[in-house]
């Protein structure tokens, strides 16, 4: 039986709806998640997150078996998950862009 997950996926806990990737996943490839092939809609750098289940806007994003924030828009399996679709439930994330604003 073949592995239901692409070997680049690193599942940290069974209940997670995102995985880390062990190496870069290029745009345009497809990736196998739980036996189903999904298109990769953006390049995912090493260690970054990919959705492995559909996540509704407002739903908790779960990694390490624990919530790491809430989705700000609907997310499909195979989507890159980062600051464009996930936000903290505690403190806003500080980026170079928001940092410029911060210093104004």
């Amino acid at each position: 039986m073949t592995n239901p997950d692409d070997p680049r996926l690193l599942r940290l806990a069974e209940e997670d709806n995102v995985c880390a990737v062990r190496s870069v996943v290029p745009l345009g490839e497809s990736i196998r998640i739980a036996g189903v092939e999904y298109p990769v809609t953006a390049e995912i750098p090493t260690g970054h997150k990919i959705a492995v289940r559909p996540i509704a806007a407002g739903e908790k994003v779960v990694k390490y078996g624990a919530p790491i924030g809430s989705a700000t828009r609907p997310i499909q399996p195979g989507d890159y998950v980062h600051t464009h679709n996930l936000k903290s439930d505690y403190l806003p994330t500080y980026t170079r862009q928001s940092g410029k604003h911060h210093l104004d």
Partner: protein
């Protein structure tokens, strides 16, 4: 392994002379004294402020009487408010040679540098006779921190350090982890691992305090590089950082500068009590390392994904590289390649054992990469 005997108290794994400036105005003179002996275990530390601060006073007393320190030269301008007499008494009471150069009394820059170097020369000669004594892992204090974190930190280096921490604690060692501001979201998990329900409540309160403190500043303990490295939220960074603590029971909550009274795993509460006063609790990674040293750390395990190069004055830093791409780019600065876990070339237990072995070798005297490259960072500010 053999350590260095100290007249009173804990044994060291290094035998360092520290030259400490007590105000920025004395920094240049102190640096000129120390630089001449940089290859011979003379480290520069100091506090830049002219106004008194109880925290800085406590940290300076702790680091100048750290087990890795054999002798202390204080460099004062003369008119700053630092309690140089009290600090010198504390060092003398610990049985260490201590001398204070007061620049205004010594006649200025050149005379002060000459006086300081003269004293350091003699101190180095006397330290060469420091007795070597066996030191056991149970006598060791190890700090664990992360810096320059990216999304790989919490996948490889941090959980591997957690494994090493568990191995060290099994041998009776003391391990300190920290940054309550980087444990936001993990407070309930930590409370469940606390030795008592009372301690569990204190841990939750310390993280809530950190969240309030950082909220007052408008953002968490999160640098733009963290997001570029794939960490999206403080909770995610926290969960990755939390894995450095392994699975041992959390047996105490300490303040910076407080030495854990017994072995086992301790959490350091780095955020001051009360209203925010002097800015961010730790302005950079080395501020965290200094607090670890002030709490007795003989060695600090430092995990990094983005790639940090730092070491420290007084206590060696072992760098555990999380990211295989960073290892390929900056390998000379790294002691341990944990990134190979991502490449499936090693598992967490193997790398955890390798980190444990590196702590043993470092404690026995083997220089870490940052020591070999001459790193001796130190920073202490108001808190």
């Amino acid at each position: 392994m053999n350590g260095y005997a100290r007249p009173a108290g804990r044994k060291g794994i290094r035998n360092v002379v520290v030259v400490a400036y007590l105000v920025e105005c004395a920094h240049h003179v102190a640096r000129e004294i120390a630089l001449a002996y940089r290859q011979r275990g003379v480290h520069l530390i100091g506090f830049p402020g002219c106004f008194p601060n109880a925290y800085a006073d406590r940290i300076m007393r702790q680091v100048t009487t750290h087990p890795n320190v054999g002798a202390v030269l204080l460099v004062s301008l003369g008119c700053e408010s630092f309690d140089r007499g009290g600090l010198a008494e504390t060092v003398a009471a610990s049985g260490r040679p201590v001398h204070t150069v007061v620049i205004q009394a010594s006649g200025g820059t050149t005379a002060s540098i000459a006086e300081g170097r003269n004293w350091v020369e003699k101190a180095l000669q006397s330290l060469a006779a420091t007795p070597r004594v066996p030191i056991d892992l149970s006598e060791l204090v190890v700090g664990v921190i992360c810096g320059g974190s990216d999304a790989t930190s919490g996948l490889t280096a941090n959980p591997a350090v957690g494994r090493a921490s568990d191995l060290l604690i099994e041998q009776g060692a003391t391990v300190i982890f920290e940054e309550t501001g980087e444990l936001i979201g993990c407070e309930k998990f930590m409370a469940a691992r606390a030795a008592s329900t009372e301690l569990g409540r204190e841990i939750i309160a310390s993280v809530e305090k950190a969240a309030r403190y950082y909220t007052a500043y408008g953002h968490g303990s999160f640098a733009p590089g963290n997001a570029e490295g794939g960490l999206t939220t403080i909770e995610e960074k926290s969960l990755g950082a939390y894995s450095k603590s392994g699975r041992s029971t959390i047996c105490g909550l300490i303040k910076p500068g407080e030495v854990p009274p017994r072995g086992g795993l301790h959490l350091m509460d780095v955020v001051p009590d009360g209203e925010p006063r002097f800015g961010f609790p730790n302005i950079s990674d080395n501020a965290e390392i200094v607090e670890m040293i002030a709490s007795g750390a003989h060695v600090t395990l430092f995990t990094t994904g983005r790639g940090s190069v730092v070491g420290s004055a007084i206590s060696p830093v072992i760098k555990v590289c999380a990211n295989p791409e960073t290892w390929r780019r900056m390998g000379e600065d790294m002691d341990i390649n944990a990134g190979r876990i991502l490449d499936c070339a090693a598992d967490l237990d193997e790398v955890g054992r390798e980190i444990f072995d590196c702590v043993v070798k470092t404690s026995a005297g083997q220089p870490t990469r940052s020591e070999a490259l001459g790193h001796q960072e130190f920073i202490l500010t108001y808190k």
